[in-house]
Amino acid sequence: MFALRRTKRGVLASATLAVSALAISAIPAQAFSVHAETGVTATQIKLGITIPLTGSAAPGYSKIPSAMQAYFNYVNDNGGVYGRKISLVVKDDAYLPTLAVAKTNELILKDKVFAVVGALGTANNKAVAKSVNLGRRGIPDLFVNTGYSGFADAKKYPTTFSLFPSYIMEAKIMGQYIKENFAGKKLGLIYQDDDFGTDALVGFKQAGVKFDVSVPYASGSQSAQSAQGWIGKLKAAGAEVVVMFGVTTASGAALATAAAMAYKAQWILGSVGGDATTLKAVGVPAYVLTGAMGASFLPAPTDTTDEYVKFFQGINTKYNGDAVFDNNVLVAMNTAMMAVQALRAGGKNLTHASVMSGLENSGSSFASASLSPINYASGVHVGYSGYWFGTYNSAGELKPNGGAYSVYTTDSGAGAIVKSTFKRPALPANGLPTN
C-alpha cells in the first residue's frame, strides 16, 4: 500500500545512499577557468566525446578515444595548440541515444568541455543535437562519426560539422562504378535494414543501378547462421557481383559463409564493413578476401607508402601502446588532426565562434589523410565527398585499382559524379599542423 509513515530502514538506507551518491557526483570536476570561453584556459583545451566503450556496438569503436588522445598527446608534447594542451573527456554511451544525451549533458554541464568531437552514431547525434541543443548553446559538435546526410542542413544543425562522406554519396559513386565495370552482370546486394542501408538504396537509385536480388538484414541479427540464408538467396538468383552494405561483422559473416558454401562472386564492400584488419579478426580467411573490391575515402591503413598512414603508425607505436592499427585507429587519428587544425584556426583567442568560422573559412585547406577534398565553406558543414576503389590483395591489403588512387566525388542529392582533380596537401612537417 501507499505507506508514507511506514517508511522503514530499507527505503531510508537506499534513499540516503542515492542522495549521498548525488552529492558526491555533484562535486564539479573542473574549478573555474580564467578564460572567457568554457572549456578553455591559458594552459588547457577540454574536448569531449561520447562513444560506445561497452556493449555489443563497442568492438572496434572503443579503440577510437585512446587513438585520438594519442595524437593529442603528441601535439601536447610539442607545444600544444598555442601553448594549450588538449585533453579529451570520454563518456561511454553504449550506443544508446538516451545515454548519449545524458552523457553529453554531463560533458557540457559538468565537465564543461569546449566542444564535442567525433561523437558516434546517427540516432545518437540527432538526439543530442536536438535535446542538448548544441546549436542554441553555440557549442561546436565537430566531425560527427556518421554518414547520415541530414547533418548537412546547417540551418537545422548550425554547430554540427560532419566529416565523412554520406552513405548516399558512397552508394552513388559505387553505383556508377558498377555500371561502368560490370554492365550486363547479375547484381546482388546485402544491406543493413536501417537508415544506413536504406540511405544506400537511395544512392544506388540515384546512380540508376538495379539489383537483381537484394537481401536486407536486421541490424544485430548477423551471424554465420543468418548469413547462410543470405548466401542461399544470392546463389539461387545467380548473382555474379555482390555489393555488401553492412557493418564489419556482417560482411565478415557474408564472406566467410560464401567461402563455406562454395559461392563465388565479385564482392564489393562498403567502407563501413570493409576494414581488412577487423575482417581477419572475425575469421575471414585472407584467400576469401583476395580479389574482393572495396571503397574508401581514406588510404588503406595497411598502405605504409602513404605518408599520413606511416606517420600515424609511428604515433600509434609511441603514444597508443602499439594497438592494432586498423581503420578505426586511422579514422581517430585523422579526426584528431582535423580537430587540432580547427582549434588552431580558432586563433589564440579561442572561442566557439572562432573555431566554427575558422572551419568554414579555412577548413577546406586542412591537411588530412583523406584522398577526398574537404568541402567546408560558409554554411557548408559537409567534409569529405569522395571515394576511391580498390581490390584486396592476397595479404588482405586494399590496393587502388589501376595502381594509383583515383577519387570520384559527388553530393547527397542529384549532383553528378565526377572524377576528382583534388591534390591532397602534404603531411605537415612532423605531423604538426601549422595552419
Partner: protein, 340 residues
C-alpha cells in the same frame, strides 16, 4: 524453493482508513509538487535534466510496481510498451499536430490498448512463461520500426514539445520545461495509480497475488482482473515512453533496448516492489548510480579496459547486493517481522 508460498491470510483492507489516507495522500502530492517546483529553481541545469529523467523512471517503475508488486505478474518487456507509447505520441504530434498533453493521452491509450491485447493473450500465462513472452516482445517489437517508413527507421522521428512559453521568463531553460512536464505527469500518474490500488481492483489484485484460489472463491474474476492490471500498467508504461522520448527529443528503436526493460524492473526491485512511493527511490538510484560509478571509475583510474568496465561492474555488484539484502522490499520485511 523460490516458489511463492501462499499466505493463508487474504488481506482485505480496512475501509475506514481509506478516507483518511486519501487526504494524507493528497496533501503529500501537493507538498511534493511544491518541493519539486522549488528544487527546479535552485539546482543547476544538469540536475534539472536528471530530475526529468528521474520523473520518467518514476512513471516507468510505477507501472512495474502495479503489475508485479500488486497483481503478481512479471514483465520483461515494458520497454516495448514504452516504445508503443512513444511512437503513438510522436505520430499524433507530427501528423495531426496534437497539443502536448493530448499526445501523452494518445501514448497512454495506444499502449493500454496494445497491453490489453497482449494481456488477453498472455493472461493465461504465469511466471516464466509470461517472462519469456514479454522478453521476446522487448527484443522483437522495436526493430519493427525499420519495416515501416512512417516510423522513421533507425534515425528516428523528432519529438518536439516546443520551447517553454515565454511567459515563464527568458532564463527558463528547455530542460526545466522538460522537468516540469515530466514531474507533473509523474505526479498525476502516481496519483491515479495510488487511487486505483486503493480501489476495489487494487484489493482484488492483492488478494489474487496472495492466493489466487482463495481470491477466485471470493468471486474475483482471475483472468479479467489480471488483464485489467496488465492494461493499466501498459498505459502507464506508454506514458513513460512518451516522456522519455521528450527528454531526448527523439523516438528511435535503439532508445528501447532490452536493457531498458531490465532497468525498470531493477528500479522496481530497488524500490521495494510493493511500495509505490519507493518508485522515487528506485528512479533516483537508476539515474544516480551510473554517474557515480563512472565518476568513481575515472577517479580510480587504471587501464582503459578496466575503467570502461568498472561502472558496469559496480552497478551489477550493487544490484546483486541489494537483492540479497533487501529482497522483499521494506514493506514485506515489516509484515514478516510483525508476524513472527
Amino acid at each position: 524453493m523460490l516458489k511463492r508460498k501462499p499466505t493463508t491470510q487474504v488481506q482485505i483492507d480496512m475501509d475506514k482508513n481509506i478516507a483518511r489516507r486519501k487526504i494524507i495522500g493528497a496533501a503529500f502530492f501537493i507538498f511534493l509538487g511544491i518541493a519539486l517546483y522549488v528544487a527546479s529553481n535552485i539546482v543547476d541545469e544538469l540536475r534539472v535534466y536528471q530530475g526529468a529523467t528521474v520523473a520518467v523512471y518514476v512513471v516507468a517503475i510505477s507501472s512495474i510496481i502495479l503489475l508485479t508488486g500488486y497483481s503478481g505478474q512479471i514483465s520483461l518487456g515494458h520497454g516495448a510498451l514504452m516504445a508503443v507509447g512513444a511512437y503513438a505520441a510522436v505520430l499524433s504530434r507530427n501528423y495531426w499536430n496534437f497539443p502536448i498533453p493530448l499526445t501523452f493521452a494518445v501514448a497512454v491509450l495506444a499502449a493500454a490498448l496494445f497491453g490489453a491485447l497482449l494481456g488477453m493473450a498472455a493472461g493465461r500465462l504465469s511466471g516464466p512463461y509470461l517472462a519469456g513472452t514479454t522478453l521476446a516482445l522487448a527484443v522483437g517489437l522495436p526493430s519493427l520500426a525499420n519495416q515501416f517508413k512512417i516510423l522513421g527507421g533507425e534515425e528516428g522521428l523528432t519529438y518536439d514539445v516546443g520551447f517553454p512559453p515565454l511567459a515563464l521568463g527568458q532564463d527558463f531553460t528547455q530542460y526545466k520545461w522538460f522537468f516540469w512536464i515530466a514531474a507533473l505527469a509523474a505526479l498525476a500518474a502516481t496519483w491515479v495509480i495510488f487511487n486505483v490500488l486503493g480501489s476495489r481492483y487494487g484489493r482484488q489484485w492483492r488478494a489474487l497475488r496472495s492466493n489466487p484460489t482463495a481470491a477466485a472463491l471470493l468471486g474475483v474474476h482471475v483472468a479479467r482482473s489480471k488483464v485489467l492490471a496488465f492494461t493499466i500498467s501498459s498505459g502507464v508504461a506508454g506514458l513513460a515512453g512518451a516522456l522519455m522520448s521528450m527528454t531526448i527529443s527523439l523516438v528511435t528503436p535503439s532508445a528501447f533496448p532490452l536493457s531498458l526493460s531490465f532497468a525498470i524492473v531493477t528500479g522496481a526491485v530497488l524500490a521495494g516492489v510493493t511500495l509505490l512511493t519507493g518508485s522515487i527511490v528506485g528512479a533516483v538510484v537508476l539515474v544516480a548510480i551510473p554517474e557515480v560509478t563512472a565518476a568513481l571509475a575515472t577517479h580510480l583510474g587504471g587501464s582503459e579496459k578496466v575503467t570502461s568496465n568498472l561502472p558496469g561492474l559496480m552497478m551489477s555488484a550493487l544490484l546483486i547486493l541489494s537483492v540479497l539484502f533487501f529482497p522483499n522490499g521494506p514493506q514485506l520485511h515489516r509484515r514478516k517481522t510483525r508476524k513472527s
